[in-house]
């Protein structure tokens, strides 16, 4: 069986560094999200430690993600036919991929995820700074209130987006291999990313 290189060792390491930091930032954030989840502070050494660590975990994730986004930027630019792909979302979730416009290295869904993640992480960092009280001076209280609400909103969208991302990797068989081993099968590339497949075999 022939395999195509999809991600380098560096890209894979970076992706998983972001993923691990996301899990830590998300769990520590969830501890404060709702009373029913406060027990999550036990993973981080109690309430005060969770409060201390969460912003650092978030900043580390955002920095690692920013570097990754810079590397993947070029392949994630939206093209006119991406909107057609999105309009045919019923064919997407119905496994009728042959009816969809041809995808390049990333299909429209992956590109949308990419931009959603950028917006969410930028929002999380900017709003988080506003109420990182031990690190920054006090901001006006109306801004702190707005930031608190937006931080929770962006975190929710981010978590939902990551669930979709993780499920898609599990659902489309052969995808996990790309991020674990760096390669995908020729057939996988031809079926899911025909334009990219042609480009790779040129």
């Amino acid at each position: 069986m022939k395999y195509l290189q999809r991600y380098t060792e560096g890209e894979r390491s970076l992706h998983w560094a972001v993923a691990l930091l996301f899990i830590l930032a998300a769990l520590s954030g969830f501890a404060f999200f709702h009373p029913s989840l406060f027990w999550l502070v036990n993973f981080f050494g109690g309430g005060p430690w969770t409060r201390i660590l969460h912003p650092f975990l978030g900043i580390a994730m955002a920095l690692a993600f920013a570097y990754m986004a810079w590397q993947f930027w070029e392949h994630n630019k939206l093209s006119p036919q991406d909107s057609n792909w999105l309009k045919q979302w019923r064919d997407v979730i119905g496994n009728r991929e042959d009816r969809l416009p041809e995808a390049g290295k990333y299909n429209a869904g992956q590109k949308v995820l990419f931009w959603v993640l950028i917006v969410c992480l930028a929002t999380l960092v900017l709003t988080g700074i506003v109420y990182w009280r031990s690190m920054f001076p006090d901001f006006p209280v109306w801004l702190v209130r707005l930031a608190s609400l937006l931080h929770a909103l962006a975190a929710t969208v981010l978590v939902i987006a990551i669930i979709v991302h993780g499920y898609a990797a599990f659902w489309v068989k052969g995808s996990l291999r790309a991020m674990l081993r760096g390669t995908v099968s020729e057939a996988w590339a031809k079926k899911h990313h025909p334009a990219w497949h042609r480009e790779m075999n040129r």
Partner: protein, 292 residues
């Protein structure tokens, strides 16, 4: 600061089940009659004495306010406002307000706090911070409509007036009430204090302060620290006392409807994925195709 076990708990931060509440404690209130206050700061001293608080020596900022603001060691503070031309025959007035926690019936701090039991509201109406449960995030400041809680730089815990919950639980009045030399601060059941305030407002009106009023703002469900104000129509004159304080709608949405909805959305997404997999199934590729 320690558990006042003789007081029942009406509300507890980040807690979704009832707290101990079989006993009944009468609702209390502290009434501050601004018209009787001479600005002597005995209440500030009594507060420091009883609560063993000693702030750093500050610097003079050009007004009588000392220290310049509330802090982790200053739970009550006289604020001096110089006001001109508000009343006929009185070209200049010094409006002195004893600032501190208002002990709201619907406390924004308690609503915003993410740590279970760091903020409690006793059934007598006192809102108390339990520093041993405080994680130091500062959400109480975000939630407070009166800008009262302060995070200590020393231990990163939030502090504010306790309404001397330790004294009240054993039948004593708060330290500031005990010490006030003019009787400007009184303490008792909320009902009695409202009644007494109405008498005082009537007297002030007779003396020519026609807009005198009781400050017990409905926007936060009423407060357990109330003011009698000579200029009750303009509370802002008193160093920015808000006219109609409420818990900000942004805080209400953030800590109210949004979070259960968000958890539902997250759970729904995960379940949608699961059921997609067991109905539509995986998207597989026939490896043989590639050989051609």
């Amino acid at each position: 600061m320690t558990m006042q076990s003789s007081l029942d708990i009406q509300a507890r931060s980040a807690t979704t089940t009832p707290s101990p509440s079989v006993r009944h404690n009468a609702e209390v209130a502290k009434l501050i009659d601004e018209s009787k206050c001479i600005g002597c700061k005995a209440c500030q001293v009594a507060c420091m004495e009883w609560n063993e608080l000693r702030g750093d020596i500050g610097s003079n900022v050009g007004v009588y306010d000392n220290p310049a603001d509330l802090d982790a060691n200053t739970w009550t503070l006289m604020r001096f406002a110089e006001v001109e031309g508000q009343t006929e025959g009185l070209p200049f007035q010094w409006l002195i307000r004893k600032d501190g926690c208002m002990h709201c019936a619907e406390p924004g701090c308690l609503k915003a706090c993410p740590s279970p039991g760091a903020i409690v509201q006793y059934s007598n109406g006192i809102v108390d911070f339990k520093q041993e449960n405080c994680i130091g995030c500062g959400n109480c400041i975000t939630g407070c409509p009166f800008n009262i809680p302060r995070i200590s730089k020393k231990d990163h815990k939030a502090y504010k007036c306790t309404l001397c919950s330790d004294r009240v639980s054993v039948g004593l009045e708060p330290a500031c009430v005990k010490t006030c030399p003019t009787g400007a601060i009184t303490f008792g059941s909320k009902e009695d204090m409202v009644h007494y305030a109405e008498t005082r407002v009537g007297e002030l009106k007779e003396r020519g302060f026609r807009k005198a009023a009781l400050y017990d703002p409905a926007g936060v469900g009423g407060t357990h620290v109330m003011y009698v104000l000579k200029h009750g129509d303009q509370p802002e004159l008193y160093s920015g006392l808000p006219k109609d304080p409420t818990v900000s709608p942004m805080v209400s949405v953030w800590k109210g409807a949004f979070k259960p909805l968000a958890l539902f959305g997250i759970g729904f997404t995960a379940l949608a994925g699961f059921f997609h997999y067991v109905t539509v199934g995986p998207n597989e590729v026939e490896e043989d195709e590639a050989v051609k």
